[in-house]
Symmetry: C2
């Protein structure tokens, strides 16, 4: 998606350790008009799938997922990190290793909101090693629901998450796939 | 806002300890069409204010804030709980006591995204004792920015947060204000 790639080139910052900071428009400050264009594009790419729910994970996936959901006319469910006293009833749970925060999270979704009747599109801001998406797939399958696909804003094509998940037969659509980043020159190249 | 009150009556559940569960449409599963109507209403109520940014706090405020932001044509910034290695540069920080999670969070916003030029609308899902809103006001004032108002989905009118913040001269607009809840009968009454 050209608009997103142009924005990454203009406003993204490459940091040491394979970190791409896009906090001015994607995951701290959020450009909702850009999100709206991204939502349109997700709808275009998954228009053949019978999606009735979008699943994301707190926190930075929520904004993108909610605005995308307006194009699908479906509700969003967000998986929560760690137990909250306001969550009762039966929970689906899994563990997700966070690269960003260097820890393992327990991630939960209420069984009330994910069941065998659901055809789910996963949406998240980043795909790198794929641990978050693996966890969300695990939750969906644990509910007996169907994974219809994965919609990602920015995929780090030089990490193996996207390849690994596609090899499972799951459709992954990433709006920008980064081939390489150089933290000295700031140069970013894209695969697609 | 009648639509939200009707939804609370229909789908909300009153639990012991003053807890109102609205996780089927507001803060776990999210009804984005309802959020869109709420966003319209926030815009109507704050149409006289020169708002150029919306501030919320992760996680459950983000969806409401992003969809509301489409009606204001402004970006959203969400305050983050605890430090992340992907956040660098100078940070504004404050501490917020969470009633739900029974702990104190360090909450941060990058100084890049909140400054003296900003006229900020705070948006959040709940207002009860007001600790989260107090923290967000503290971040905005710490940045030298202006608090234009506070937009809340559900205010617990039987707790003192709303009264206390209004007494500071800050405009608080809550789309549904709960007067009382009974966890035995499930009855919910509204102030407005």
């Amino acid at each position: 998606m050209e608009l997103l790639k142009e924005r990454i080139i203009r406003d993204g910052n490459v940091k040491k350790g394979g970190v791409l900071k896009v906090d001015s428009f994607l995951n701290h400050q959020m450009d909702v008009e850009l999100f709206n264009r991204m939502g349109e594009e997700f709808k275009r790419r998954f228009s053949d799938r019978p999606i009735n729910k979008i699943l994301t994970i707190e926190a930075s996936g929520i904004g993108i997922a909610c605005i995308a959901a307006q194009h699908f006319n479906v509700p969003v469910v967000f998986a929560k990190k760690a137990q909250s006293i306001n969550l009762d009833g039966e929970m689906l749970s899994t563990k997700i290793q966070s690269f960003t925060h260097q820890r393992v999270y327990d991630v939960i979704v209420s069984k009330k909101f994910l069941g065998p009747e659901d055809h789910v599109l996963i949406i998240d801001d980043f795909l790198a090693n794929g641990c978050a998406v693996d966890g969300l797939i695990d939750l969906i399958r644990g509910a007996g629901a169907t994974v219809e696909g994965v919609g990602i804003a920015i995929e780090k094509g030089f990490q193996d998450g996207g390849k690994r998940i596609r090899e499972k037969g799951i459709r992954v659509e990433s709006l920008a796939v980064i081939a390489s980043m150089d933290d000295e020159t700031g140069e970013i190249t894209f695969c697609n």
